[in-house]
Symmetry: none
Subunit: 126 residues, 2 copies
DNA sequence: ATTGTCCTTAACCGATCGGTTTATTAACTA
DNA sequence: TAGTTAATAAACCGATCGGTTAAGGACAAT
């Protein structure tokens, strides 16, 4: 399917039903049927959503008799968070680049918002 | 398309090419052609990826003559980060046996100033 | 042994995705 | 005036997605 884990994680999070399932599971474990109940779709649909979450490593199922108990396993989520944090760091640093770009392009003309943030270091492209 | 913004954001992030584009743009603005150059795909493909990022609100293009200068606009990213943070909080509250793992990973990852834009309420471990 | 419950698998469907090639629009250059 | 460059639009393609219905599979209850 989606071989790189980060892509799989983001793809899994890109569906509101799956996010709702995760939010539900964050409140405690649940069976597939319990998870399906609030949604206006069939059980196989929920089952497939759970498979997506499982393949992404975000949930795990423990068999308990004829039921499957679903629980959160959030390791890949940490990768997603890390990526976003890192990206945000770059983005914040990029305010300097925006300044530089506008200055280079327009000379003086534009009202460059020099924001409150004391921008960190300047790193060039690499 | 993808009407809810959070889904659009995660969906946009779910593609490695688009993440690479964002990482590239985090280092500074670039034209479409410059963005396309390192990739083994055609210009229209990159153009479509940029459109996805643009519709998700992650990137904006300023026309500069016949070129389009692409830059980051990270507002929706904050929503994604917030969702992950919130989710992680719930998750941490329920599964404390992974707390140590998180702490280790996060501590090792970034000497990042967790700047401004504080979702003010947290930091449990500090 | 039969029946019912919980869930998955299989097959199918239309829509979207990620890419291509081929035009087309817009702006620069000679 | 052409001709070239930068990027998008359009049309198309196979693959995947998100859902359905219908058919099992494993366990529980009687």
């Amino acid at each position: 399917m989606d071989h790189d884990p980060l892509s799989a994680t983001f793809a899994a999070l890109a569906d509101p039903t799956r996010r709702a399932i995760l939010e539900r599971l964050a409140g405690g474990d649940a069976t597939v049927g319990e998870l399906a109940e609030p949604f206006a779709m069939t059980l196989p649909a929920i089952s497939k959503h759970l498979s997506v979450l499982e393949r992404a490593g975000l949930v795990a199922k423990d068999r308990d008799g004829q039921r499957r108990n679903c629980r959160i396993t959030a390791t890949p989520l940490q990768s997603a968070t890390s990526w976003l944090e890192e990206y945000r760091r770059h983005w914040e640093a990029n305010l300097d680049h925006l300044d530089a770009y506008l200055t280079r392009l327009q000379g003086a003309a534009l009202p460059v918002r020099r924001t409150d943030i004391p921008t960190a270091e300047q790193e060039k492209k690499s």
